[in-house]
Symmetry: C2
Amino acid sequence: MKRTIFLLAAVTAVVGVVAITADARGNNDETAAPVFGVKIPSGYRGWKLVSVAHEQGDLNDLRAILGNETAIKAYRDKALPFPDGTMIARLSWSYISSEENNKAFGRYQSFVAGPPINVQFMVKDSGRYGETGGWGFAQFKDGKPADEKLHKTCFACHQSSKAQDYLFTHYAP
Amino acid sequence: MKRTIFLLAAVTAVVGVVAITADARGNNDETAAPVFGVKIPSGYRGWKLVSVAHEQGDLNDLRAILGNETAIKAYRDKALPFPDGTMIARLSWSYISSEENNKAFGRYQSFVAGPPINVQFMVKDSGRYGETGGWGFAQFKDGKPADEKLHKTCFACHQSSKAQDYLFTHYAP
């Protein structure tokens, strides 16, 4: 009986430590994305705005690029490369016409964010991600990560913005 | 001599009080916009994101709608009407094609925020702005407010979104 209680206490302690560790690394409700092991950073929807964009073609979205405090400071200071701890979120929503706004403007011209499409993250950790410019990449849809194949394409594409430390987005004043 | 020193001290004290009062009301570097007397709220560029939009036609912009903490809480709680203290910022940038992004995507599809066009604010103060649904409106370009004529058009246009307490923008999830 004593032994059972001791084991139970030991197991509880281990579970506690694991839970705390997981929590410190990010939102434990989400699975880590493949290749880079990036999880959805908690509170990212409340990060500050870097800029906005619209992609036509197959993507056909409206997007916002947000950054954590480290990212925003580096953007504003124009300090390259971005320091470890920088985290960028790219939120993408369907590009939809707003009947409500068009009525107010008196013409067909207004496009707004519709249902969410997906969200991408870039996380700077030069030790962990040394082979990909110091960045870990991740894409999630409805909280679920995209597959390994997609994640293997991230860095190759971001190579073209190497001059801005692999970030496409410029800070909008 | 004693009298001069006393007067100087009195004047200094008064100037100090005026400076503190002005500071507490907002950014004192900017002139207040006509009609509603709204000044540019300090730190608005760091507010959280409500949503994004694209206006075609004469406006031809990309825009971000940001809100202070009171605004974001009310949006997330779906609590109407918005409480006093709510402040909304609508930032508008030129809609420009990104050659850099198009190269990465391998096709002409990417539009990003170019030079800033102007910024608009809505400030909720039901006592002060009772005649306009509780909202004060303002538009600034390069830190300078638009004229009285423009500010007289704000509320009439926002009437069409009365169902969402005169705000056009819906919160993007």
